[in-house]
Symmetry: C2
Subunit: 136 residues, 2 copies
């Protein structure tokens, strides 16, 4: 995920050890960590990092469009580094496990004009739910 750091640096971001560590923790596929989990893993690499910094950094990454915010349950938001490849989420209704999925078709096209009530609809998020192989 050094390319993430590069992109951020290109946008005038000051690169600090804290931000580097958060970016490292978010590296990989099918990563959907809560802010607290990010903090715990970051603290493993940089013990004195504070919760506030993790929240700030995640929030900045989200507003720069580099990380996606996902809230599949009513609990903590999760952070998905796979923001440059549009996708939806499949969630286990029992254990909460999350997979990125790529449905066919465009959900936006399924909302006819008379069902938009004057809204300028720009986005459709789909959450599929069911039991994962382990829980079934």
């Amino acid at each position: 995920m050094s390319d993430l750091l590069e992109r951020l640096r290109g946008r005038g971001w000051r690169v600090t050890s804290q931000r580097r560590v958060v970016a490292e923790v978010l590296d990989g596929d099918h990563v959907h960590l809560t802010a607290d989990e990010v903090h715990a893993r970051a603290a493993h690499l940089l013990p004195e990092i504070s919760r506030a910094t993790v929240y700030n950094t995640l929030g900045e990454m989200v507003s720069l469009g580099e990380v996606m915010e996902v809230s599949t349950d009513g609990r903590a938001k999760r952070y998905d580094p796979n923001a440059h490849h549009p996708h939806q989420h499949l969630v286990c209704s029992n254990c909460g496990a999350i997979r990125d999925v790529h449905p066919t078709g465009d959900p936006l096209a399924d909302l006819p004009q008379e069902q938009r009530f004057g809204f300028a609809v720009s986005q459709a998020e789909v959450t599929y739910r069911g039991l994962c192989p382990t829980c079934a």
Copy 2:
């Protein structure tokens, strides 16, 4: 919504004044109240009703399938009494206003077998986002 109370009574629910009041507050179309709003309106009808009771009652209605839980933002969950008519939600990205909508097609059909990763997928929730007429 006395039919809701009837259905609940039929399932062995003890009908108390608190539960009746919560059911009354949830009556109507396009109702998407938070637990706190339900509590505030219920307290208007029954001043000594407690927050815990409202949470318990809402939770029971949800697990009986009579009310739907919706979390469109990362904030408080909202409760939708329109649980017997499948529908999706359209949310204003600015002010948070919510409308029930009925897209065409079945989102479940858009998730091919090889994208299900062994999950027994049973449900698809779609949240459309955009600016409402007032905010645009």
